[in-house]
């Protein structure tokens, strides 16, 4: 709908495509990231019985703006021995990889960046681009420890994509489509039509699915937590044995690009989990627009529900960060290969059997 609006405005398909793809980025994701940084600080502070930022703006609301201004005016240090093209390109690739995922996520019923049939597979491929960016930044810093940290981070992200894909496959088997828009539309109605409660349809297989979709949800939540490098899987960010990981050598705006990319990535994976299992932009009870008869209200309501679900899962990610200690590198790998992958595999087989029978 929005795509049609812009195409008609400019009478040119390409400009219409570009603007309608860039719109969520500028209007929604970037402001969300600003809010997310502040939310993390305030949430962590209140969980720890303290107050968090209080002095900039009312109760610290403008803190992120102040941080951004500070980072903008910092000196951009590029050492002589660094590999300049790679060094400068790495933040851009990480950023592009995180933001490209938003093109295939349906924000409301009336808007999706690009209605590609390969939906979810495209998203997983695009977030894989982040690995290349991290390796580039680790190598170009010309530092033994960042290289080690970057390699570990790359290994972590690549390993944890496997359980993600296995769970997504099982979901595709239940619904038969890879397009996220169709998947969201399948979950209309009330909340018992959501995937985590077995999906639409009536009959016995809906109730048989329920334990396995719950397990699938847990597995995918944990593996996407590892993909965005959050605690308990934050070896690359925190001490990394001795130093600070793959973004040690970056300063100023490049550093802030890494951080923006991380928070956007967090929202992207929360949105994906919400869309796959919790109904995307559908509301759990009917629509106000429907009862009032104002049909233009519905997309706005859907947007509201989508944001609520995305923000809730981001909140749970932050909640986990401040509760749990960090895993050691070999234990991290053990969790992935010995626990998550077998469970996801068995899940896949059982769901497949139920679908066939």
């Amino acid at each position: 709908m929005i795509y049609d609006f812009f195409t008609n405005l400019f009478n040119n398909q390409i400009i219409g495509i570009i603007i309608s793809a860039a719109l969520p980025l500028l209007l929604f994701i970037l402001p969300f990231v600003l809010v997310a940084v502040l939310m993390e600080r305030k949430v962590s502070a209140h969980m720890q019985d303290r107050l968090g930022p209080m002095r900039v703006g009312y109760h610290g609301i403008l803190q992120t703006v102040a941080d951004l201004l500070k980072l903008l005016q910092k000196e951009d240090i590029v050492a002589d021995v660094n590999d300049k093209p790679l060094f400068n390109l790495a933040p851009v690739i990480v950023f592009a990889g995180s933001y490209a995922a938003f093109a295939a996520i349906p924000f409301t019923g009336a808007y999706i960046g690009s209605n590609v049939d390969l939906g979810i597979i495209y998203i997983i491929a695009a977030t894989g681009l982040v690995v290349a960016g991290i390796l580039m930044s680790g190598w170009a810093s010309n530092n033994k420890y960042t290289l080690l940290g970057a390699m570990r981070s790359a290994a972590q992200i690549i390993s944890y994509e496997i359980p993600t894909i296995l769970v997504v496959l099982s979901l595709i088997m239940i619904t038969g489509t890879m397009n996220l828009e169709t998947l969201s539309q399948m979950q209309t109605g009330y909340f018992w039509n959501w995937m985590i409660l077995g999906g639409p349809g009536t009959g016995l297989d809906k109730f048989l699915f329920i334990p396995f979709t719950v397990i699938g949800f847990l597995v995918i939540y944990i593996s996407t937590l590892a993909e965005v490098n959050r605690t308990p899987f934050d070896i690359p960010e925190a001490e990394s044995e001795l130093v600070s990981g793959y973004h040690t050598e970056y300063s100023g705006m490049k550093f802030s690009i890494f951080f923006l990319a991380e928070y956007a990535n967090m929202f992207a994976v929360s949105a994906i989990v919400a869309t796959l299992f919790f109904g995307g932009y559908q509301s759990p009870f009917g629509y106000l627009g429907n009862t009032l008869g104002a049909h233009w209200l519905i997309p706005i309501e859907q947007f509201f529900w989508f944001t609520v679900k995305g923000v809730f899962f981001v909140f749970v990610q932050m909640w986990l960060r401040w509760t749990l200690p960090r895993l050691r590198v070999d234990q991290l790998m053990a969790v992935c290969w010995k626990y998550l992958i077998p469970i996801a595999f068995v899940n896949l087989i059982i769901i497949g059997l139920i679908t066939v029978l």
């Binding site: 949430v43 502070a45 969980m47 019985d49 107050l51 986990l320 401040w322 509760t323 749990l324 626990y339």
Partner: protein
């Protein structure tokens, strides 16, 4: 196999228990005090900056001797017998001019060992704890109430008095020796 399932169960269970604890704390009011706007009430025995009430100081040097870091420097001058320096608040008569009483508050370790030996309780710890300065020399506190000229004057007075006394003593000794010599001569004759 049993251990495998046990691991998974205990991991999930303890994670949820931990999350419950943290979630409860979201609703507990925070314990932070926003310092420059709100200040804590300190207890009365609190050990902060030192203060010396010079009207009561008798110059006994006990506090300087008790200090473990030697941050108090005291110099005194004996007063002349006809001068009246007044009394301290508990009735003692003062007999020494205190010409130097420096406390280097940057060296002070706030241990309170100087407060106890003072016989007139004139040195004590106040409740001031915000006394940072830009220059380090401003942290040497000088408590003496005499002007620099007066301090030099007291010293000179005392030295003059001593010199006079010494001269008198010498004259008296000479006179005594003379008288003795004359007496001896008388006795001899």
């Amino acid at each position: 196999m049993k251990e495998y399932l046990n691991n998974i169960y205990s991991a999930l269970f303890t994670i949820f228990v931990g999350m419950k604890v943290t979630f409860k704390h979201l609703f507990v009011p925070s314990v932070t005090i926003q310092y420059p706007d709100v200040k804590l009430d300190l207890p009365e025995r609190e050990r902060n900056r030192l203060y010396v009430n010079m009207d009561d100081c008798i110059g006994c040097d006990q506090c300087a001797r008790a200090c473990p870091v030697n941050c108090i420097e005291i110099e005194t001058v004996k007063s002349l017998p006809e001068e009246d320096l007044g009394k301290t608040s508990n009735g003692k008569k003062k007999a020494l001019w205190v010409t130097k009483f420096d406390i280097d508050i940057a060296k002070c370790c706030y241990c309170q060992l100087c407060v106890f030996p003072c016989p007139t309780e004139c040195i004590y710890m106040t409740d001031v704890y915000e006394f940072s300065e830009f220059e380090r020399n401003n942290l040497v506190y000088d408590f003496v109430t005499l002007t620099p000229d007066e301090r030099v004057e007291k010293k000179i007075n005392f030295e003059k008095f001593e010199a006079e006394k010494a001269a008198q003593k010498a004259a008296a000794a000479e006179a005594a020796a003379k008288a003795k010599a004359e007496k001896k001569e008388d006795n001899k004759e």
